[in-house]
């Protein structure tokens, strides 16, 4: 009774206790897997999942921009009966020559409305080039649109938290946690990469019969192209090169079933699309209409009558799953430029579970050894250091939970390492106190001077480790960032627990230590003289 009355409460102890309560409170949701509260997310390497770093072939976007300008020039000159000699285009420019010099002004006038190009006219020859700004704008737009589209698609895919983010100028980072099976991963990958470019094209009935004997060059001479059937590449279709309309005019797509209960996709067109579609079908009864998706013909039904209302169907023998994903892809729009894999990391859930188990083993093993060793070597001082160490672990977990940080396998290694390194501060301090006690200093003096002397060294040592950790965070990627995070939090937390916290405990116990005069019990050393 008398003794506990003498224990001086001090601000350090109060802060330490608050820190412990904070640690316990905020780490609880993660540790006990509570429903509420912010939790630590497990990295893909621990829970399994798919990490993709995608590149965008932005040059394809500029190419298609050039292509569409060329198409519109062709369209304009045909309508206006302007004779054009040899219109050609490459990646970034279009060249053509007019036969009649009198038309130059009309064409120039028409081109005035096209933005983002430079027009160079030499007599009757035209050279059109995309401006550098336009190239950058087009490419940036392609990446933006790809991110948006992929995000839309994955949001509808049904995974908990798909992450789609821009990385650098033209890379896209996709992280899908919690993919459980190979089939799901395959589906996700197909959904991401699908161009989903829908085109309704007219079959060239005049020449369709000869398609098997035609080369691509032959077809091009007629303004046609040859497309394969989606299921059977041996079946070819000859269709007009310029589509009647494309997926840009789509407002909705969903999965449905036909009369035989086979899955199909219903789509709806916007007003403009519906009008074009209605006009075309009205004028071409008896001919065939090819439904083309990503350059493959899905079906080519006969047009029996004018189709108004702007809705249609894409049939094909797909499974329910395929039809569902296809509808999602169509709804979210087409990719302007193709994407490709720059980096892929895929971890199966069973490997993740193994990694968790292995790192937990290492954590517990390391922890037990360190705790026992400290107690054996420093006695009561070791116990004090161990309290700080345990508090440190809880605080790391609490801070990570609070910020919703991701715990990766290297991050786990960082926590294990923190166990070894966080006691360092206490080793330094206790050694200093021991030294001072052996010199015959009083308990009070030994504690205060010990902390003061140790402080500088601990600070310098921790700051240099922090420098390395910050660099690692800035330059590390993926899982390695997790290591930098746990190490940094561990170091910062150790300043609070190992320095401030233990100092408070000693101040609290000072009177008791002083009276007991048992340095062997308290600090594990022989009695001072």
């Amino acid at each position: 009774m008398q003794e506990s009355m003498r224990m001086k409460l001090n601000y350090r102890t109060v802060i330490f206790v608050i820190a412990i309560v904070f640690g316990l409170f905020f780490s609880a949701p993660s540790l006990l897997q509570l429903k509420d509260g912010k939790k630590i997310t497990l990295g893909l390497d621990l829970q399994g999942g798919l990490h993709l770093l995608l590149g965008v072939k932005t040059e394809e976007a500029t190419k298609s921009r050039i292509k569409s300008i060329a198409a519109s020039i062709k369209h304009f000159t045909t309508r206006e009966d302007i004779l054009v000699d040899f219109l050609t285009f490459d990646e970034s420019s279009i060249t053509f020559t007019l036969l009649d010099g009198d038309d130059v002004k009309r064409v120039k006038n028409y081109l005035k409305d096209t933005t983002g190009i430079t027009i160079d006219v030499n007599a009757e020859s035209f050279l059109l080039e995309l401006t550098p700004e336009e190239v950058i704008r087009t490419q940036k737009q392609a990446v933006d649109q790809a991110i948006e589209t992929i995000r839309n698609r994955l949001d509808q895919f049904g995974l908990a938290e798909p992450e789609v983010a821009r990385q650098g100028d033209e890379k896209i980072l996709v992280q899908l946690a919690g993919i459980k099976t190979q089939e799901d991963e395959q589906r996700a990958r197909e959904l991401i990469s699908r161009a989903a470019k829908l085109e309704l094209m007219a079959v060239d009935e005049n020449r369709a019969a000869r398609v098997q004997n035609m080369s691509h060059a032959d077809a091009a001479a007629y303004g046609d192209i040859i497309l394969d059937d989606v299921k059977n590449p041996a079946i070819k279709y000859l269709v007009r090169e310029i589509p009647i309309l494309d997926g840009g005019m789509l407002t909705d797509a969903s999965m449905g079933f036909d009369q035989n209960n086979r899955p199909l996709i219903n789509f709806k067109l916007n007003a403009e699309g519906a009008e074009i579609f209605g006009d075309f079908t009205g004028k071409n009864v008896g001919k065939r209409l090819a439904v083309v998706l990503d350059g493959k013909v899905y079906s080519a039904p006969n047009i029996n009558e004018r189709i108004g209302g702007g809705s249609g169907q894409i049939s094909g023998s797909y499974t329910v799953e395929e039809a569902k994903d296809l509808a999602i892809a169509l709804r979210s729009g087409a990719l302007l430029a193709p994407i490709y894999v720059m980096e892929k990391r895929s971890v199966g859930p069973s490997l993740g579970a193994d990694s968790i188990e292995a790192s937990m083993m290492a954590l517990i093993g390391g922890f037990v050894i360190v705790v026992l060793f400290m107690m054996l070597y420093y006695r009561a001082a070791g116990v004090v250091a161990n309290i700080a160490l345990i508090a440190n672990l809880f605080i790391i977990l609490a801070v990570m939970s609070l910020f919703g940080a991701t715990l990766t396998l290297p991050g786990m290694a960082g926590i294990v390492l923190t166990v070894g390194m966080a006691v360092d501060a206490n080793v330094i301090i206790t050694e200093r106190i021991r030294e001072l006690l052996l010199e015959g200093k009083s308990i009070h003096k030994a504690i205060e001077e010990g902390y003061a002397n140790a402080m500088r060294a601990i600070l310098d040592a921790n700051i240099t480790t922090l420098i390395a950790a910050v660099v690692l965070y800035a330059y590390g990627t993926g899982a390695i960032k997790g290591f930098a995070i746990t190490i940094s939090i561990g170091i910062l937390a150790s300043m609070l627990t190992a320095i401030l916290g233990t100092h408070g405990i000693y101040q609290l116990l000072e009177a008791r230590i002083h009276r007991s005069k048992n340095n062997k019990f308290w600090f594990g050393i022989r009695e001072s003289k």
């Binding site: 993709l52 770093l53 590149g55 190979q182 990958r189 197909e190 990469s193 994407i339 490709y340 894999v341 720059m342 980096e343 892929k344 990391r345 895929s346 971890v347 199966g348 069973s350 490997l351 990694s355 790192s359 083993m361 290492a362 093993g365 390391g366 922890f367 050894i369 360190v370 060793f373 400290m374 420093y378 396998l409 290694a413 294990v416 390492l417 166990v419 070894g420 390194m421 006691v423 360092d424 080793v427 330094i428 050694e431 021991r434 030294e435 500088r456 040592a461 700051i463 480790t465 390395a468 950790a469 660099v471 800035a474 330059y475 590390g476 290591f483 190490i487 594990g524 050393i525 022989r526």
Partner: protein
């Protein structure tokens, strides 16, 4: 318990010729190994593919090799056991860029008929990303070193900074030598371990340097080697203990952390030992070799105090004059 009862300073600096020889020997061996055998860059830096396969029974490695001859994508592929007999890793130099059908899928198909298996991990790193990661990796090591150099020079003195950096370079080269010798794959995790080693080894050095700084400032002894001996001896208990606790946990990671974290743990294991050694036997004697002079340092300190006192005085005069 006390491992080191302080009675009198050990003559560490007297042994510096011996340890210098040892260090040079280790450095030369490491450099020779690095130059002849070279580092084994893993997919993170070299680009390529890793496929980890787990069988329900022992992995039929010969049969797998036979199957993988079917496709030129697998040219130069190596198959090695991964931790246990039923798990293997296939390393390939090629990487694919298709999203829907990648080299992992091709591997899965190719292995059909070799038994019951599960593909547990597929890492594909394209050449561009590999190069980027390599550049970033080297950059991070350089930046961390420069950052530390500046901080230590600012807090101590330039000779301390140069000595600690040289000790770090010493540690990194030997650690890399050990990695090359064992033939571990160098991936991002090894880089992380090297950066940790940087911070850790520096910790040790700084604790000793801090003691030297303290003793240089306080003690009347102007014989540097004696001051260093005294400081190293005084901090010996701490150096050994912390190295021990860190060694314990890293050893636990090495033993139980699983195959994926093996290279990381190995690098740290070597690093803890070399880092502790270098703090005592490389960084400290270097102060001697660089001709750090206690008397000159005292004069500098005195100058600094004087200047500050004068500044303070002038400020006081200025302020009182103003009022």
């Amino acid at each position: 318990m006390e491992f080191f009862k302080y009675t009198r300073p050990f003559n560490f600096m007297g042994k510096s010729k011996l340890t210098l020889t040892l260090s040079i020997l280790m450095l030369v061996t490491s450099l020779v190994v690095l130059m002849t055998k070279g580092l084994n860059y893993g997919v993170d830096f070299a680009g390529g593919t890793i496929v980890q396969v787990k069988y329900t029974a022992d992995a039929p490695i010969d049969e797998m090799r036979e199957k993988l001859k079917s496709n030129e994508l697998f040219d130069g592929a190596s198959i090695t056991k991964f931790g246990s007999a039923d798990e293997v890793v296939i390393r390939m130099k090629s990487a694919t860029s298709s999203i829907t059908v990648d080299i992992g899928d091709v591997t899965r198909e190719a292995l059909v008929g070799t038994g019951e298996y599960e593909i547990r991990r597929v890492d594909i790193v394209g050449p561009k990303v590999g190069n980027e990661l390599k550049e970033k990796g080297i950059m991070s090591l350089v930046l961390a070193t420069i950052g530390i150099l500046i901080y230590v020079a600012f807090r101590f003195e330039w000779r301390f900074a140069v000595a600690s950096i040289l000790a770090l370079v010493h540690d990194i080269i030997i650690a890399l030598g050990a990695i090359a010798l064992v033939g571990l794959d160098v991936n991002l995790d090894v880089l992380a371990a090297l950066l940790t080693l940087l911070g850790y080894s520096l910790n040790d050095t700084i604790i000793i340097f801090d003691r030297i700084r303290e003793n240089v400032t306080d003690s009347k002894n102007t014989e540097l080697s004696e001051v260093i001996n005294e400081s190293v001896t005084r901090t010996l208990a701490r150096t050994t203990l912390t190295s021990l606790t860190t060694f314990f946990v890293v050893f636990m990671l090495f033993m139980f952390g699983g195959e994926i974290i093996h290279a990381f743990a190995f690098t740290l294991l070597v690093g803890v030992i070399v880092g502790t050694y270098s703090s005592i036997f490389v960084a400290s004697p270097m102060l001697l070799w660089f001709g750090f002079d206690i008397k000159a340092y005292h004069v500098k300190l005195a100058d600094k105090t004087k200047r500050e006192a004068e500044k303070e005085k002038m400020r006081e005069q200025f302020e009182s004059g103003m009022i």
